[in-house]
């Protein structure tokens, strides 16, 4: 090989190596191997209600925080012990589950609020004549089971009108068929979630009355929970997850269609009725802010500690707090501003 061509080849290879080295030094992306893995348990089934998590994942907000997030779905009853045991790093769990769980020794903390308004409500057809809690007296009320957040909410709502569950007739729907039961007149009212059953009925053309418990007893809605050991071992990762999720929540609150698109990308079946998904997401976004906050106010995930204190006292009266706990045992406000 002629000497000039050999020298040119060596120079070309050297030049290529230099270019590649500069490119490698210039990149700011964190390689997958360096990211902190987090498993996150969301609710019962994939839903547009978890759009903020899907958006944060798809838009790379979790990656930018150095996280490698995987989702799984489960009910509170299973998820809370899993988070407590560290088998799942973070979970989306109802505050009314956190209180008895911590009282029973499950080492978890509520680190950020997702639902600032308690989503569990009582709904009835507008033609039922039910407009206040007092109107429930003597009526038939559908509920999935005499346990969980719906049961606690119902007792709080009835109590606000000096009623108890003995003043109404409870009909259980373990298959969550309360919406159909109300629609068909099998019951006068039912418990549900303000971003689910009422939306379904309104979408089908039936006007609905909704009774809320927020102004009566500010029960803590679903939020992000973590084990105390996870908080100690992965504090930065937990903080990054909260930041990224809240960022996605604010983005979706400003432009809900972003959330629907993210949900459809994560759960393709949701594309069958995008209008319904948008209606559900709009109702969900309304729950991300407290009743006292303006419609466009920034979402912070802050924890309402006075509200938690009131809820703790209420649930203690119901006998759901066998071992005394304090708000400090239940929440960790260090991950959100304004807590």
């Amino acid at each position: 090989m002629p000497r000039s061509r050999f020298t040119a080849a060596r120079l070309s290879a050297f030049g290529l190596a230099v270019v590649l080295l500069i490119a490698a030094c210039g990149t700011t992306a964190v390689t997958p191997a360096a990211r902190t893995k987090l498993t996150v348990g969301l609710g019962y089934i994939p839903s547009v209600q978890f759009a903020a998590f899907y958006r944060a994942d798809q838009a790379g907000y979790y990656t930018a925080e150095g996280l490698d997030v995987t989702f799984q779905n489960d009910i509170d009853a299973n998820l809370v012990p899993k988070v407590g045991a560290g088998n799942v790093d973070l979970g989306l769990s109802d505050g009314t589950s956190v209180i008895p769980a911590v009282s029973q020794g499950i080492p978890i903390r509520y680190v950020a609020t997702i639902y600032a308004k308690f989503p569990s409500i009582v709904f009835a057809k507008a033609t039922s004549g039910i407009a206040t809690a007092a109107d429930l007296k003597g009526r038939k009320i559908g509920i999935p089971a005499k346990s969980g957040s719906s049961w606690i909410m119902l007792q709080a709502l009835l109590g606000s009108a000096n009623l108890t569950v003995d003043d109404v007739t409870i009909v259980e729907y373990p298959d969550f068929g309360q919406a159909a039961a109300v629609s068909q007149g099998a019951v006068d009212a039912a418990t549900g979630f303000d971003n689910n059953e009422p939306v379904q009925l309104e979408t089908s053309g039936q006007k609905v009355t909704v009774l809320r418990v927020d102004q009566i007893t500010p029960l803590p809605g679903p939020g992000i929970i973590a084990a105390t050991t996870t908080i100690s071992a992965k504090k930065a990762a937990v903080a990054g997850f909260v930041r990224a999720t809240i960022k996605a929540m604010n983005e979706i609150a400003a432009t809900p269609s972003i959330g629907v698109d993210a949900a459809v990308k994560a759960v393709p079946d949701l594309a069958k009725d995008k209008d319904l998904q948008l209606a559900i997401l709009t109702a969900t976004i309304a729950d991300w802010r407290r009743s006292t906050e303006a419609a466009g106010a920034p979402i912070s995930g802050a924890i309402d500690q006075p509200g938690w204190q009131a809820s703790l006292e209420f649930m203690t009266k119901l006998g759901l707090v066998p071992k005394p706990v304090t708000v400090g045992d239940l929440v960790d406000p260090s991950f959100t501003a304004g807590s």
């Binding site: 009910i75 509170d76 009853a77 809370v80 012990p81 407590g84 045991a85 589950s97 008895p100 769980a101 009282s103 029973q104 020794g105 499950i106 080492p107 089971a145 005499k146 346990s147 969980g148 049961w151 409870i170 009909v171 259980e172 729907y173 373990p174 298959d175 759901l320 066998p322």
Partner: protein, 295 residues
């Protein structure tokens, strides 16, 4: 009919004795083996002694193993509470009135469901044994019903029959039906053909054949089916409660797990369910010993 058969049996035994004098003597004067045994080796045999040791030993091994798993695994109480915590919670849950009303409800469902399932299983099993036409007509549906998981059927049954006792009894009855029907069919078919022929030759009617030949022959098999059925009845009651109920041990399991996060109470309830199943099983065993003898 019974007297004729007994006479026939005696006559048959006499024929054997006449043909073999040695057997005749032995049959007439069986040696007293118990008296002949040396006193030192005459052990006090009986279920009160021999039957208890393995049970107690097994329970001790189980509890020790449980404790070791908790201690060696470092498992927190909300994952696997230690046996002493469960025992304490079991006692308090019974004495403070937490478990009794739920247990009473479940026992009622089990008893009624077992009665319905076993009763219908016995009748259908007899029909399957004695009629090939019935067997061919009904068997596919019986097997299909058994193959469909009761967990999938239970919510439908609760929807059709309501969340009250009726749905639970039907669910229990369905789960008990299959083992009892099959055991009855197998047992009835195992009746000695020679005896059946003898009965026919003596012009025994259907009822007489059933009562004096078929039922005695089928009893061991039927009682085996009832042993299985009675424990499955407990499963059926729990599944029925999960499909919709406001009281029962199944409801308490869900409350303890999903609402109260009281895992020791969950385990105490599971222990109660297990004891209920064991107790009912032992009742069938006692009935079997009375009707069939020690096996």
């Amino acid at each position: 009919m019974t007297r004729d058969l007994a006479r026939e049996s005696d006559a048959a035994r006499s024929d054997v004795a006449r043909s073999d004098p040695a057997r005749s003597d032995a049959a007439a004067n069986p040696p007293d083996l118990v008296a002949a045994a040396p006193a030192a080796v005459r052990l006090p045999v009986g279920p009160s002694v021999l039957g208890l040791w393995p049970i107690v030993l097994g329970a001790v091994v189980f509890v020790v193993a449980w404790k070791l798993v908790v201690v060696i695994g470092g498992l927190p109480p909300f994952i696997l509470p230690p046996p002493e915590t469960v025992a304490a919670r079991f006692v308090t849950a019974w004495t403070d009135g937490t478990i009794p009303p739920h247990a009473a409800t479940t026992i009622g469902e089990v008893v009624l469901g077992f009665a319905v399932g076993a009763g219908s299983g016995l009748m259908v099993g007899y029909g399957l044994a004695r009629s090939r036409l019935i067997e061919r007509l009904v068997s596919p549906y019986i097997v299909a019903a058994q193959a469909v998981p009761i967990l999938a059927l239970a919510p439908l049954l609760a929807l059709w029959f309501g969340p009250g006792l009726l749905a639970k009894v039907i669910i229990c009855g369905l789960i008990v039906f299959f083992p009892v029907a099959i055991a009855t069919m197998v047992g009835i078919r195992s009746t000695d053909g020679g005896l059946l022929e003898l009965g026919r030759s003596l012009r025994a009617n259907r009822r007489q054949v059933l009562v004096t030949l078929e039922i005695p022959a089928a009893l061991p098999s039927i009682l085996g089916g009832l042993r299985v059925g009675v424990t499955l009845a407990v499963v059926g009651a729990i599944v029925g409660e999960w499909a919709g109920a406001d009281r029962g041990l199944g409801v308490l399991v869900n409350l303890a797990r999903g609402s109260l996060f009281d895992i020791p109470l969950l385990f105490a309830t599971l222990v109660t369910i297990a004891l209920l199943g064991i107790g009912l099983y032992l009742l069938v065993v006692l009935a079997e010993r009375r009707l069939v003898g020690l096996r």
